[in-house]
Subunit: 339 residues, 2 copies
DNA sequence: CTGTTAGCGCATTCAA
DNA sequence: TTGAATGCGCTAACAG
């Protein structure tokens, strides 16, 4: 069903049909209605490829995310989708599974698909070959969650947030506070959060035990259990994301520890699911949906001006410490337990 | 960066460049390498829109899902993505938020985008206007999770699975078994699962209390709490999906009930997260990733033959009762509690 | 093995 | 206000 067919059936030229759709004001109300009626009857849909080819714009935004199995990114994507539709854009989401080669492949795919701009969560902005490509291609983009002074980013102050969380735990009487993180090398957020942990511990004058580093994708509850052995176990765990926090709680249970009585657990991300858990997850909540929304708005705004986004357009969104039930005061006998 | 530029730079015709990419065997190794080198130097990417317009195929599959906030569909999408890549297809996922108008809008968008085929989870195959459109458009499609004798579907026997689950609960000594479901009208799966519940109860000679129906999207833990009031409360809950099961466990906790000691909870879906929870979710596990994979394979196979998929190609995949910790024998005093 | 050329469906000049 | 004609980038005849 092409514009030709509609034009023929309506007894007008293809140009008129095109105008009736794109500039309704530029045709007589009579002809417009005629065209619309015929189009409807014929089930006509403007061909997106042809339109993109002709106009050199697709009104589509590419979205590159690590995974949708982490609700954080699913929530963000929903924010992106909503804002994109509102701005008259479609989205084309792709996941990378935290793999660099996939990151590059994704950007390549999206570029070939003529997206007008990109929103991406990359492993590490400093070293991302995908970003390099984008820069040279001159395609507007914005990073979400990532934080880097050379790129336009929409993020939160992960480092400060974690440092604050550590301070809270210290105020609750905790001394042995450990951090659980996904593979540091695979995520600049993990690195920032780890720095925040180190800073918080240092400020409290506490020794930071070695980072408990586990894979992002697999469950690794067993590995976590190993870290909760009685003699050396921490009384509080700061987790680099909510999924890890959930697994840590599981590991505690398997190790015979009660949360929060024997072990406090703090997450990071603020996934909605966390509030429905028992114990409800105590976490540093990011405005995931808003991160998506703002990313779109920044991008669309820049594109409207025919510009690419610059680093100085970066946005730092507020986070919030969300009090749940997975965190409590250190018990007296905990000190005994670890000594 | 167009094929023209590459051709000029390499000193060959555009046809040769095209061949070098699409039929490497049809050009001399020398020219192929030349073209490849030049293309790389120029950062050339074949324009997908132009290619689609010309060939009338996009090598893209549209995917219509209710939401990605339910990990079930995120897991399925991952299966789809993996299989699609393996088959040389890209995917274009869209969510509908369980809304019919969005369902139709999504199909429209994808059709305009020239997808070669669609995988969709619709509200109700019988009444879906979107499906109607697809049929008349003659575009190949397959339904995932939905089950209907007039359409090609990849699904599990939800009804039988829930009936079996009820039987298991009865064997554990439960008599007051209630069902928690999302809005029935918004999902044929919910309807099938409810029928399974009714059948299971009937077969056990038990009275089925009224369905506890809550919204799909909101949390509705409060509403669930209301259903757990002492005098009439069930001793076991069969939930139409894992998210509802999680919320039910939360509601139990808020109501002062222990799971599984005071209340058994069975979910449906088998989301990976469920295994990391405490208590680990007892659930009817669907092979979410496989549902996605098989959907793609069926579709790709049909498209390769230039056909649309017919209802008789439908696949019924095996489900499994996954034993967790949210389910236990009915306690003696439970009968006292409800009497 | 390689080049020339037409046309996919559409938006957009330029004329009328 | 409308129509005719051009070309976006590419692939697929067809010719050489």
């Amino acid at each position: 069903m092409s514009i030709q067919a509609v034009a023929a059936q309506a007894g007008v030229s293809v140009a008129t049909v095109s105008r009736a759709f794109n500039f309704p004001d530029k045709v007589t109300p009579a002809t417009r209605e005629l065209v619309e009626r015929v189009a409807r009857e014929l089930n006509y849909l403007p061909n997106a490829s042809a339109r993109t080819l002709r106009t050199q714009r697709s009104r589509t935004l590419g979205v590159v995310l690590p995974t949708l199995l982490n609700p954080t990114f699913a929530e963000c994507l929903q924010g992106i989708a909503r804002a994109a539709v509102a701005g008259g854009y479609a989205i084309l989401p792709v996941t990378t599974g935290y793999r660099l080669d996939e990151e590059e492949r994704a950007v390549q795919l999206l570029l070939a698909g003529n997206v007008d701009g990109l929103i991406l969560v990359v492993s590490n902005p400093s070293t991302s070959a995908a970003l390099q490509r984008l820069q040279t291609a001159g395609v507007p983009y914005v990073l979400a969650y990532n934080r880097h002074s050379d790129h336009p980013c929409v993020s939160v102050d992960s480092e400060g947030a974690v440092a604050d969380a550590v301070t809270r735990l210290v105020l609750l009487g905790h001394r042995r506070i450990a951090m659980v993180s996904g593979t540091l090398a695979a995520s600049d957020r993990a690195q920032q959060r780890y720095r925040g942990y180190q800073r918080g511990m240092a400020e409290a004058g506490l020794d930071a035990p070695p980072l408990i580093e586990v894979p992002f994708v697999e469950t690794a509850v067993d590995a976590l259990c190993a870290e909760l052995r009685p003699r050396t176990r921490p009384t509080a765990l700061v987790c680099s994301n909510d999924l890890l926090a959930i697994r840590s709680i599981r590991a505690a249970h398997l190790s015979g520890l009660a949360v929060p009585d024997d072990l406090s657990v703090v997450g990071f991300d603020g996934i909605a699911l966390g509030e429905d858990l028992t114990p409800a997850l105590t976490t540093i909540a990011q405005p995931n949906s808003d991160i998506g929304r703002h990313s779109v708005e920044l991008l669309v705004q820049a594109m409207a001006g025919g510009r690419t986004l610059q680093a100085d357009a970066s946005l730092l969104l507020p986070h919030a410490f969300r009090d749940g039930e997975s965190c409590a005061s250190a018990r007296e006998d905990n000190d005994a337990a670890v000594s």
